[in-house]
């Protein structure tokens, strides 16, 4: 029988296969291609090949030089430790929250607070955190003002501590919201309530039932997001520059210093370091995978031996409170940041600044208005380009079904799992070769790589959830697929489309390394400025740029919601 059946696609008209080819070509040209070239363009210099700098023969020299870099072993260990510790801590907090508080009002409260935090760039959260915990930070000032601390701040490195603890905590603040959101998406696809009811009727306590019955079903969907968190926290540069140790720094920062060195010969060992970073990420993921297997088999054995039914409730409650702490620390940190940018005078022993003013803002903004324009323009351009590409990809998925969906999911996660430092130099080389380095086009193209995954993750669920019969009805009324997309699907999905656009905007605003690598030092954004200034110690100026980092995405989301607000009112009046 099977031989008599032919795939339907052959019966489809030619214009649809042209659409598919165009989408695949665009995906290859703007997304897959640059990433591959980026990795290749980083590996070749590590092997001595970079004709622009006179490297024309394969040689082990770059790796030999890398091994001589002082502190390399410790830097690598720090990166590995940061990656594993951040991911384990964030995952633990999210699991405890879901297991312990799922279905209670607290869960929905935290959930509502967490989504906006997701849109705040990493750097802003890190700066806020530093403003809070630094020896002369807000916490110390509050203690000093109430007489609980002495008049002189302690002389210990709380921020940039040599073991990277501040870095781990700062990253956790940002990874918990991400993992929680991914967990919520996964929970939407598993009948959680029914599973829990069955398990509890069988006599299991709520959170124990959640761990034994729900988590194993969710985990496969969480695996890619978790690997992204592992890779990100083991290779981050911007946050590590603010919160991480300095002598030696983490591997990614060490490599970044090599790339930045005025002596261009350092690029060879830095490329070797980027390759080491790629290997390190692979090792981190492998270790985590071993942990997965061990925990799963331990869990299965516990079930066979009789599930205890009562996990240490106190420990679970504490861990669940971790999520509350994440929200509170993030928000207070952001508040500290804004407060500092407005402070006229803030003595070390007072809880609040003496007088607020917009002087610093006025001073900075008159000089640097172009910087905000650059940031916004770049973000709008890359988010719009990403949106167009994502919509084309989603439309292809509708036509090609589940197989295309799985392929795209893996593809989309590649730039999230590859460390930025591991392929951005290759992209810079690629841009130099095609003559686009330091241009707007090159910059937007590079941002697109990092913006696109988030736009896809945000838009794919609502896109698939739209009743396909609307499209079928419109097609049967005689409208072409493009026209149906514009007149039916886009208006019906206006809200998720604009939210995805705002998220893409926020992601672009937060980019540090891509802007520096692709911009050739010619473009400054609020994020590059905030990171550069973070070493200066002038909290009021840093506060201005970190606040701008938070304000721009917030304006993006406000615009998205305002634009869809009208449509929603119409829909509500209708119902």
């Amino acid at each position: 029988m099977a031989t008599a059946l032919r795939p339907l696609s052959r019966a489809r008209s030619a214009d649809r296969s042209i659409g598919r080819r165009l989408t695949n070509l665009a995906l290859l040209l703007f997304f897959v291609g640059p990433m591959l070239m980026g990795v290749v363009g980083t590996i070749l210099p590590a092997l001595g090949i970079l004709p622009q700098l006179g490297g024309v023969r394969f040689s082990p020299e770059p790796f030999r030089q890398l091994l001589e870099v002082p502190g390399l072993a410790r830097a690598s260990g720090l990166s590995l430790g940061t990656g594993l510790a951040t991911t384990a801590l964030s995952f633990l907090i999210v699991v405890a929250l879901a297991a312990h508080w799922h279905g209670t009002p607290w869960f929905s409260r935290i959930r509502r607070l967490v989504s906006p935090l997701l849109a705040v760039p990493h750097v802003a959260i890190a700066i806020g955190f530093a403003f809070l915990i630094a020896p002369s930070g807000w916490i110390y000032r509050l203690l000093a003002a109430t007489g609980l601390a002495g008049p002189l701040p302690p002389d210990i490195p709380i921020v940039q501590d040599p073991h990277g603890i501040a870095l781990i905590l700062g990253l956790t603040l940002k990874e918990v919201p991400f993992l929680l959101l991914m967990m919520l998406v996964a929970m939407g696809q598993v009948p959680v309530r029914e599973n829990l009811t069955v398990a509890r009727i069988l006599g299991h306590e709520r959170s124990a039932a959640w761990l034994a019955v729900v988590l194993p079903q969710l985990y496969p969907q969480l695996r890619l997001p978790i690997y992204a968190v592992l890779a990100y926290s083991a290779s981050v540069v911007d946050v590590a520059l603010i919160l991480g140790p300095t002598t030696p720094p983490t591997l990614a920062v060490l490599v970044w210093r090599g790339f930045q060195d005025p002596d261009l010969d350092h690029i060879f060992w830095a490329s070797a370091g980027a390759c080491l970073q790629l290997g390190l990420i692979a090792l981190t993921i492998l270790l985590w995978r071993c942990g997965e297997v061990a925990v799963a088999s331990l869990g299965r054995r516990r079930i066979l031996a009789g599930w205890p039914g009562r996990p240490p409730v106190l420990a679970a409650a504490c861990a669940a409170c971790g999520s509350g702490a994440v929200v509170v620390i993030s928000l207070v940190g952001l508040a500290a940041m804004v407060l500092w940018s407005l402070a006229q005078r803030w003595t070390i022993s007072s809880a609040f600044p003496e007088g607020l003013s917009l002087n610093i803002w006025r001073q900075q903004l008159t000089g640097e208005a172009g910087l905000i324009g650059t940031t916004a323009l770049l973000a709008i351009a890359s988010a719009s380009a990403a949106l167009l590409l994502v919509i084309a990809v989603l439309e292809q998925e509708v036509r090609q079904g589940a197989k295309a969906q799985r392929r795209h999911r893996w593809l989309i996660y590649v730039p999230l799992i590859l460390p930025q430092i591991g392929f951005l130099f290759g992209i810079q080389v690629l841009l130099v070769v095609v003559g686009l380095d330091g241009t707007w086009v090159g910059l937007v193209w590079t941002h697109l790589l990092f913006v696109l995954p988030y736009v896809y993750l945000s838009l794919s669920e609502p896109w698939r959830a739209l009743d396909p019969r609307y499209e079928r009805t419109a097609l049967c009324l005689g409208h072409s697929p493009v026209s149906v997309l514009l007149t039916i699907k886009a208006p019906l999905l206006a809200r998720p489309i604009l939210v995805a656009l705002a998220l893409g905007f926020a992601v672009s605003v937060g980019q540090y390394l891509p802007t520096l690598f692709a911009g050739g030092g010619r473009f400054q954004t609020v994020t590059t400025e905030a990171v550069t200034l973070s070493a200066s110690g002038d909290r009021r100026v840093i506060g201005v740029y970190a606040s701008l980092q938070m304000l721009l995405p917030a304006l993006g989301f406000a615009a998205a919601l305002a634009l869809t607000g009208r449509g929603r009112r119409v829909a509500r009046a209708n119902s």
């Binding site: 029988m1 099977a2 008599a4 059946l5 032919r6 795939p7 339907l8 696609s9 019966a11 489809r12 008209s13 214009d15 649809r16 036509r399 090609q400 079904g401 589940a402 009743d467 396909p468 019969r469 609307y470 499209e471 079928r472 009805t473 419109a474 097609l475 049967c476 009324l477 005689g478 409208h479 072409s480 697929p481 149906v484 007149t487 039916i488 208006p491 019906l492 449509g567 119409v570 829909a571 009046a573 209708n574 119902s575």
Partner: protein, 216 residues
């Protein structure tokens, strides 16, 4: 030339499972209503989406679909001129009733005024005069169902498919609405293929009935 809708040896299946239809052949003449009756899961709706050209890509299918002797199997859905009504009215919620109907009106009917008159005439036929600017959500279930029929017919289809369009309506409304749909289809001499699991639908259609069994 054979007038009407012709299904020529249609085989339809998913992956490695046995096909839902094996060389299914059927002729629906003009102005006749053929009813397919069968349990859920026997592939009735999949057959209809194969006819409209909107079937899920997971399906593998073969066979030809002809309308008035012309093979439409290779045509995209928007050029087949096959109208379909589903269980839900699926009025586009972001458009008014008038806009929903205008969306169906073929482009050759030109001129704003002319198009507006056509829509007004259609609404009058369904005792819905003056409903142009209402939002679909402000209409009752029966009104919405009638607008959906008007919309499908304004597109001037050559075939009408009915995918259990009466299942959601309550008893009194159902008979009334069924008569409304059938009358309009007969006036236009449309070949109609209806799938249903309500024997009363088949009786009212007063045409051939094909009973399908569950897949083996």
């Amino acid at each position: 030339m054979t007038a009407g809708l012709e299904l020529d040896c249609i085989t339809l299946g998913v992956g490695g499972r046995p096909p839902l239809f094996r060389c299914f052949t059927l002729l629906v003449p003009l102005a006749e209503i053929v009813t397919l009756i069968g349990p859920s899961g026997c592939g009735k709706s999949s057959l209809l989406s194969f006819l409209t050209g909107t079937i899920d890509p997971a399906f593998r299918a073969s066979g030809r679909v002809r309308i008035d002797g012309v093979d439409v199997t290779g045509l995209p859905p928007e050029r087949r001129r096959i109208g379909i009504l589903f269980q839900d009215d699926l009025l586009f919620p972001h458009m008014t009733v008038g806009q929903n109907l205008a969306y169906a009106l073929p482009p050759y009917i030109a001129g704003r005024q002319h198009r507006r008159e056509r829509i007004a005439a259609a609404l009058a036929e369904a005792q819905l005069s003056g409903f142009e600017d209402r939002g679909p959500a402000t209409l009752s279930g029966g009104q919405r169902a009638r607008v959906a029929v008007l919309r499908a017919l304004l597109a001037e289809p050559r075939v009408l498919l009915l995918d259990e369009p009466f299942a959601r309506l309550d008893q009194g409304l159902r008979e009334h609405f069924r008569a409304f749909v059938f009358d309009h289809a007969r006036v236009r001499a449309l070949p109609v293929l209806m799938v249903s699991h309500d024997p009363a639908d088949a009786q009212a259609a007063d045409g051939p009935i094909i009973t399908l069994s569950a897949p083996t």
